[in-house]
């Protein structure tokens, strides 16, 4: 067993566990977006940044950092609140995350995080770049304007379904998740149409066809249910 300190509270954790897992068990809330139980951690969104006092105040993603004996971690502070809010604002400024006309309005992790972290407006200028919408798949659609590039769809497809249809293309703010080598999703030779990517997606980027504003409810917990029911490779 490893003993560490989280926000001044002594917490016990198993060797190999992450700061996020230890915090969860101790009832300490750390906001996350790209992390999803059942999938490997990626540390992509940086919302779970915590400050490790014993590492000179270094900021590390709680979801992807293993615990260490004697570690002192700050999970919630004014500095972290401000950083997390700024990260969230950059996500909102980058693409179209306007809730009012989104399929996921009312059931969206990004929308909930904004409310939780007190993001009452976006201080950065909006970019208002137009991205495409791919409706070529028989059952599902992808709206890149709503995508936060968390990669939960990519990991769900590769790690749980085993199809590895999704991947990233492009760089920086022009990065897109794309099926196979960039052909329309409906023409993908590897997609099984299982829909795990849709359930894993935290926003309205991936959705079931026929869903109108506010109608798309996701079941991200299904990824953990599936992986727990079977041994992982």
């Amino acid at each position: 067993m490893i003993t560490l300190t989280l926000d001044g509270v002594r917490v016990q954790a198993q060797e190999g566990e992450t700061i996020l897992q230890a915090a969860k068990r101790a009832g300490i809330r750390i906001p996350t977006l790209c992390y999803l139980e059942g999938l490997s951690p990626r540390g992509a969104c940086r919302l779970c940044l915590v400050e490790v006092r014993t590492w000179g105040g270094r900021l590390v993603p709680a979801c992807a950092t293993p615990v260490q004996e004697g570690m002192e971690v700050v999970a919630n502070s004014e500095r972290l609140r401000e950083l997390r809010r700024a990260i969230l604002e950059m996500l909102f400024a980058e693409r179209n995350h306007i809730c009012a006309f989104c399929v996921s309005n009312g059931h969206c992790e990004l929308q909930d995080l904004a409310a939780e972290l007190g993001m009452d407006h976006v201080r950065y200028p909006y970019r208002w770049l137009p991205f495409s919408v791919d409706l070529s798949h028989a059952k599902y659609g992808i709206d890149h304007n709503r995508c936060v590039l968390c990669g939960r769809c990519v990991r769900a497809c590769a790690e749980v379904e085993g199809a590895a249809t999704w991947g990233f293309s492009g760089r920086g703010i022009f990065t897109l998740v794309e099926a196979d080598l960039g052909e329309p999703w409906g023409q993908s030779k590897t997609c099984t149409g299982c829909g795990k990517c849709v359930q894993a997606c935290p926003t309205g980027a991936l959705f079931e066809k026929g869903k109108a504003t506010s109608e798309q409810v996701k079941r991200p917990a299904i990824l953990l249910e599936i992986t727990e029911r079977r041994p992982r490779a």
Partner: protein
């Protein structure tokens, strides 16, 4: 105690926030005890008065008239509130922002000399519909599309009693 001088303004928005304001129903009586509505689409005056204590502005800044009015209001109002998602984020009116202004106007009014392209009988359309805080400093933000009457009241009531509103997370949601 003198009544608070409150104004409401309607820019580029659907007036849903004002409809929601009217949904305050009997709470409007308590509002009227504490405040005087000195300027609003809901009352007669045509000129924005001086010395306004609180102004609620619905809608994005979509054209030159909104722009000029907003700059005037900022000088005359003590507390400026971005009232609803269009004022806070640009929301639905900002859907046009990735599309050039000329294309938007021609798609709506036809290819020949559409109104709003230049200053004329209707104000010139701005290249993009902007949230209020992109133009002037905003003091308080009230999100929602539209904010419900309950949310508006949770926000307004403290203001009427000289306090700063602090909404819980559930009442801060966009959309």
């Amino acid at each position: 105690m003198p009544r608070l001088r409150v104004a409401t303004v309607w820019f580029s928005g659907c007036s849903g926030c004002h409809m929601s304001f009217l949904d305050l129903d009997e709470r409007l009586l308590e509002f009227a005890e504490r405040a005087e509505l000195v300027f609003s689409p809901l009352v007669d005056p045509k000129e924005f008065p001086d010395d306004v204590d609180v102004v609620l502005i619905e809608g994005a800044v979509g054209n030159t008239e909104h722009l000029h009015t907003l700059l005037e209001i900022r000088k005359k109002a003590k507390v400026l509130v971005a009232f609803g998602d269009c004022a806070v984020t640009g929301n639905v009116p900002s859907l046009r922002n990735p599309i050039p202004r000329e294309e938007v106007l021609q798609a709506v009014y036809g290819p020949e000399d559409p109104p709003g392209l230049e200053e004329g009988e209707v104000p010139k359309l701005l290249p993009q519909a902007l949230p209020l805080h992109a133009v002037v400093p905003v003091d308080l933000f009230l999100p929602g599309c539209p904010p419900s009457a309950d949310r508006i009241w949770a926000f307004l009531r403290p203001l009427l009693h000289g306090q700063t509103p602090a909404l819980p997370a559930s009442e801060r949601k966009f959309g």
